[in-house]
């Protein structure tokens, strides 16, 4: 089996609303596959169709060689799911949730070590309603891993978490992959995809706009690089227009932005050295996935 997941021309509508127009993608064993797009792009409906929660109106879905609609129970035993807008009853205790959910699967791993791994060991007796946002998310990941799944689906894993908790969660996602599991990561955060995903499908209006590694997608932009630095007084940055590859120089008081292509940082640094300028904060800003999205759709993902 080459593909863990194979989706061909998936289509799903709710009444007149087209949630997914046409999505095709494949997920390889052992990779972190990202699905990214703005809210309402059709990411969650795509995932819900892949795990068998929704019946597609068109196209085909195969997960671990199974049709999710035909064998929901068998598939459910081999995948782990962390869903957006899911919850446990407020008064359910952490250990009770794990104990209950363990009874749903044919095969489970002991849940005590899972709580240890996910930093919830001291929260066993806490009620779900009293957990923090981060603790709830970690509990959902623990629940998703309870059946030692081959594929783990994580939908908007870090939404609502503070930056520090987000970074910590990223490490944990990498840890899941290192255990040999395939991870499908759904998010509207481009930085999350850049940090984690081996390959990414960019989805908008129910269609796949691009599917590749984040690095390839960024490289295909042929984008220009920008170098920023702060000068000492009196330096006329216009002279940098002469540097190879530079297309524009903007100076605003002491802030200088040099735009261009090629090995721009090295060229600019060399030039500055010739003028005896040694800025502390010489830094390069490269195109990222947000720019890719902007180039593909003509709008910003955050809008």
């Amino acid at each position: 089996m080459n593909h863990i997941i194979e989706v061909k021309n998936l289509r799903k509508t709710y009444g007149r609303t087209i949630a997914v127009a046409d999505v095709s993608l494949t997920v390889q064993p052992g990779e972190i596959f990202g699905i990214v797009g703005p809210n309402g792009a059709g990411k969650t409906t795509t995932i819900e169709s892949i795990i068998g929660l929704r019946q597609p109106d068109g196209g085909s879905v195969s997960v671990l060689g199974m049709n999710p609609q035909a064998e929901p129970k068998k598939l459910g035993n081999r995948i782990g799911v962390q869903l957006q807008e899911a919850a446990l009853p407020d008064r359910m205790k952490v250990w009770e949730a794990l104990d209950l959910y363990a009874s749903f699967y044919e095969r489970t791993v002991p849940w005590e070590p899972l709580l240890e791994t996910w930093g919830l060991a001291d929260k066993q007796q806490a009620q779900f309603g009293n957990l923090s946002g981060g603790q709830k998310q970690r509990l959902f990941i623990a629940l998703a891993l309870l059946n030692d799944p081959e594929v783990v689906f994580l939908d908007e894993l870090t939404t609502g978490l503070d930056p520090q908790a987000r970074r910590a969660t990223w490490d944990l996602v990498r840890a899941i992959r290192e255990k040999g599991k395939t991870v499908v990561l759904i998010t509207h955060f481009m930085d999350e995809i850049e940090a984690l995903a081996d390959r990414v499908a960019i989805i908008d209006h129910g269609r796949v706009l691009a599917l590749d590694t984040p690095a390839h997608l960024i490289a295909q932009l042929h984008g220009e690089t920008q170098v920023h630095f702060t000068t000492s007084n009196g330096f006329a940055a216009d002279v940098l227009c002469e540097v190879a590859g530079v297309t524009a120089v903007n100076q605003h008081h002491q802030q200088v932005t040099v735009t261009g292509s090629g090995p721009l940082l090295a060229n600019v640094a060399t030039a500055l050295a010739q003028y005896n300028i040694a800025p502390y904060d010489l830094r390069v800003q490269q195109a990222n996935l947000e720019d890719v999205f902007l180039a593909l759709t003509g709008r910003n993902i955050r809008v």
């Binding site: 929660l53 799911v81 869903l83 899911a86 359910m92 104990d99 959910y101 749903f104």
Partner: protein, 246 residues
């Protein structure tokens, strides 16, 4: 079978952690019985057919417990689970939908039986409650039939109402008038005859009549059985089409 039993046990524990819900299902009927028992006593009266006031009120209180759970607890509980995403999370596991729904029924049935046991034990201890003679075993199927019928109404309400708040508000708006007109909270014979006749169309009145006849006379009231069964079947059919997981 194991997921169903685990879900039932879990739901039972969760319900027992809800103080407000428990007050109305477990404590309130007992409080009413004690209050009126202390005022009127439970002396056997010939004009009450050899029963006391408390004896006569117990079938109504049982109806009250069943109605409260069916029309208030179940709609609120299910609509809350739906709105919060508890049902959504459960559906993303291999557990069968049937197990999720039946566990709710099973847990609420156990709570109803707990409430009834509490009522009967308090009656025995404080007022020498006269237990149904002859029909003592038959009361149980009557209770279960009534409970399932009202639980089915609860599932319809849970499915039709968009939010937990509307489910609760509409449940109350239907339940409280029915509670007083049906004879569950106070004897039917104190009401004008016209009202009594009209009240007979209410499912809760039929439950009270069924339980009274079983408890006091050991007889099955076939009209009541027919009405309650019809409500049960209708409720199951409607909830089958109106129930929503999200």
């Amino acid at each position: 079978m194991k997921p169903f039993l685990k879900l039932t046990y879990s739901e039972l524990k969760l319900q027992l952690r809800e103080p407000v819900g428990l007050f109305f299902t477990l404590a309130f009927p007992v409080m009413l019985m004690v209050l009126f028992g202390l005022i009127f006593g439970n002396e056997a009266e010939t004009f009450l057919g050899g029963y006391g006031q408390v004896d006569l009120s117990v079938p109504g209180y049982i109806g009250m417990i069943i109605g409260t759970i069916g029309m208030l607890s179940i709609p609120l509980s299910i609509a809350t689970y739906r709105e919060n995403g508890v049902l959504r999370r459960l559906r993303a596991t291999p557990v069968q939908s049937k197990a999720i729904l039946w566990s709710q029924v099973a847990a609420q049935t156990i709570i109803a039986l707990l409430g009834i046991a509490l009522l009967v034990i308090t009656g025995l201890l404080l007022f020498d409650l006269r237990l149904p003679s002859g029909g003592d075993v038959m009361i149980l199927p009557g209770i279960l039939l009534s409970a399932f019928s009202f639980f089915a109404i609860g599932f319809v309400l849970a499915g039709v109402m968009p939010t937990p708040r509307t489910a609760q508000a509409v449940g109350m708006a239907i339940f409280f008038p029915m509670l007083f007109l049906s004879g569950a909270a106070m004897p039917r014979f104190i009401m004008p005859e016209g009202v009594q006749e009209v009240a007979k169309v209410l499912p809760l009145t039929q439950v009270v009549i069924l339980l009274e006849d079983l408890w006091l006379r050991g007889e099955w009231n076939l009209t009541a059985v027919a009405v309650i069964t019809a409500v049960l079947i209708l409720g199951l059919i409607i909830s089958r089409f109106t129930f929503r997981w999200e």
